[in-house]
Amino acid sequence: MSGAQNYENLKSKYGDKRKSQMDAAFELILWATSPTDMVTLAAELKSDKEFLFDYLVDLTAYDNIDGVDGSERFVLVYQLYSQSTHMRVRLKLLVGLDTQVKSLVSLFLGANWLEREAFDMYGIVFEGHPNLRRIMMDDRFVGYPLRKEYPMKQRQPFSDNIKFHLGQTPLPLSNEESGENRVNLNDFYNPNVLLNLGPSHPAMHGTLRVMCRINGETIEDAACELGYLHRAIEKLGENRSYHQWIVYTDRLNYCSSLANNVGYCMAVEKLMGLTITDRTMVIRVMAMELSRIIDHLVCVAINALDLGAMTIFWHFYYWREEAYTMIESMCGMRLTTSYARIGGMSYDLPENFEARMRRFVEEFPRTLNEVSNLLTSNRIWIDRTRGVGIISKEDAIKYSLMGPVARASGVDFDLRRDRPYYNYPNLDFDVAVGTNGDVYDRYLVRMEEMRQSVRILQQCVAKIPKGPIWVDDKRVKIPAKQDVYTKMEDLIHHFKIFMEGIEIPPGEAYSSIEAPNGELGFYIVARGGPKAWRMRVKSPSFMLFQNFEQTVKGGKIPDAVATLGSINIIAGELDR
């Protein structure tokens, strides 16, 4: 990569006054000296003509209670990405228990919810944040769950649902709370009727909740509430061994588990400096593209179902079942696959896989065309989707949106092409980019991406390299089952891997893949031993849902349903 020179330039430009270091994946880390310095640094990097770090990819923190990184209690971590040079830089700041950190919302709108999450999980206070309150946990929750001292199993249940906030102030819901502001439903012309959607609502995917202030049928203001599926996957990452945590990645985005497995294993391999074999590479690429197809199938099918087109659902679910059968033959599970392993795959491809995959790539595009004929020029579909839920290109960048939604808005950005991994550089595919950023464009982009995935699958299945699927590394290689039963060393080795886990040296790495929904990143801080010190999941849905409040404003209620279906929020990875 020609990036090495770029990183040197970046380091000499910003790193002379500040501490800088390289991580396990050779990415630059800059340590800001103070909260004010952090704002200056981020603003400089954002407006830098040469590098133009305009995307705030992630903002998180980790506990520094053992004092490895400095004397303060927490380390705040910002990931920036540059669209023009495709570089990443990580900014870090040491934060004490009482430090007031400056909010970055004025620079990056996407920082809003991320800062709220850091506040919720670690209790870091951001000065100047417009609405700093808990995001995942209940407002009445005591303590900060991701701090090391919070016990993993300490539950704090509440017997009633959370009260809702719209913007900064609590909603006036009942007479007792605020007498004069009470919404009077008898007043026909009252423009302040509140409408609660979710969490149990057919269009809200089971767990999302949106409170709308409506005037007639127009949504004037909307506020999202999340955390109804917060399962503490990140806390589990610190309490399970690296190997055990693979099963939790399945449950992040359960529509495309295969891609999550691969993304996570890639991050750990980066941390360990492993290079996987050619055969595994191709298998993983096929797994990722297959999961992209099934994810988009669900998204388009459900979006159409929400708008009343049920035929699409039946058509697409037939092919989803076919894909599931194939996945089942690969790894034994339909949905929660756990296919990838650190340094290899759990199983090699089954014998009849190639024939099955050939049939899939030949016959599936026919259904795709059929559905395309049903929807693309359908008057009703166009009326319901065109010009609805528009996200402009500027908004997409400001809110750090990625994946098909950003591409539909005209952001020409795809990690598979821009920061290639595995054998994507050798594969021939196009990146679908839309123009208007409405629901219709998102649908078109998703359909086109499925076609491109079929193309990639065709190229992959034509030449699957022969050879081993495991790297030849004693640290990670799981011994074959028959050897475990017959050989003493392999039995011991097997026991050590599964009972104690894989030892990973201290260090940190951020690795991301182009998941079906956008950039799915895993940020791992290792302090030695079989468990991670911090396991951060940068999920695409989180950013997409953050923008939802803005997108639906000014639209009608049915448009909100169409918009939500088209941005494909998966609650498992939204709430983690």
């Binding site: 609502h201 089971g206 599926l229 917060h230």
Partner: protein, 204 residues
């Protein structure tokens, strides 16, 4: 009608007819929160086609349904919502807990996940699996039909009442620590303690 009681045949017949009608037209209220919800959709869709067993009229209004399908992880934040939905359903009603999470919390034994929905409502059928395959879910419906028929007695492992559910969802009965103790516990661990733990581990 007559004095020897032969008219009792009509109520009996009516009861049998009601059972037959109920078991063959179960209206599900899907409460799919996560992964199991996707498998539930597979079951409802073309390949597995749950309408073969008379349970395809999916209604999202709890007042129209008699079978609550809880598919997916239920967090402590979600538990009051689920209990409200259960209370809104009319008798007779049945509950199927689909998957490990809703049956027992599954692999998520953490600070935010309810350890099984039977803490807050009676459950008729548990479906194992993470997620269960659609066949497992269909088997659960067949099993529930037998329960409705009276061939299998209806015995939930746990029968929480409304008050039990409120207790399960509040601090008082469920937790070993009180709110104040949690606050205090937040301050007990110091960097020195972590360092000593680490030294112990390394020594071992």
């Amino acid at each position: 009608m007559s004095k020897d009681g032969s008219a009792m045949i009509f109520p009996m017949l009516f009861e049998e007819a009601a059972k037959w009608a109920r078991k063959n037209s179960l209206w599900p209220m899907p409460f799919g929160t996560s992964c199991c919800g996707i498998e539930l959709m597979s079951t409802l869709s073309s390949h597995y086609d749950v309408s073969r067993f008379g349970a395809e009229v999916v209604r999202f209004s709890p007042r129209q349904c008699d079978m609550l399908l809880v598919a997916g992880t239920i967090t402590t934040k979600m538990a009051p919502v689920l209990r409200t939905i259960y209370d809104q359903m009319l008798e007779p009603k049945w509950v199927i807990a689909i998957g490990a999470c809703s049956s027992s919390g599954g692999i998520f034994d953490t600070y935010s996940v309810l350890q099984g929905i039977d803490e807050i409502m009676p459950v008729d059928v548990y479906v194992p699996g993470c997620p269960p395959i659609p066949e497992g879910f269909l088997y659960a419906i067949l099993h529930l039909q037998k329960i409705i028929d009276g061939k299998i007695s209806r015995c939930s492992a746990n029968k929480p009442t409304f008050d039990d559910a409120i207790n399960a969802m509040s601090y008082n009965n469920k937790l070993s620590q009180t709110r104040e103790q949690i606050i205090a516990a937040g301050l007990t661990i110091t960097p020195e303690y972590v360092a000593s733990q680490r030294a112990q581990q390394e020594g071992r």
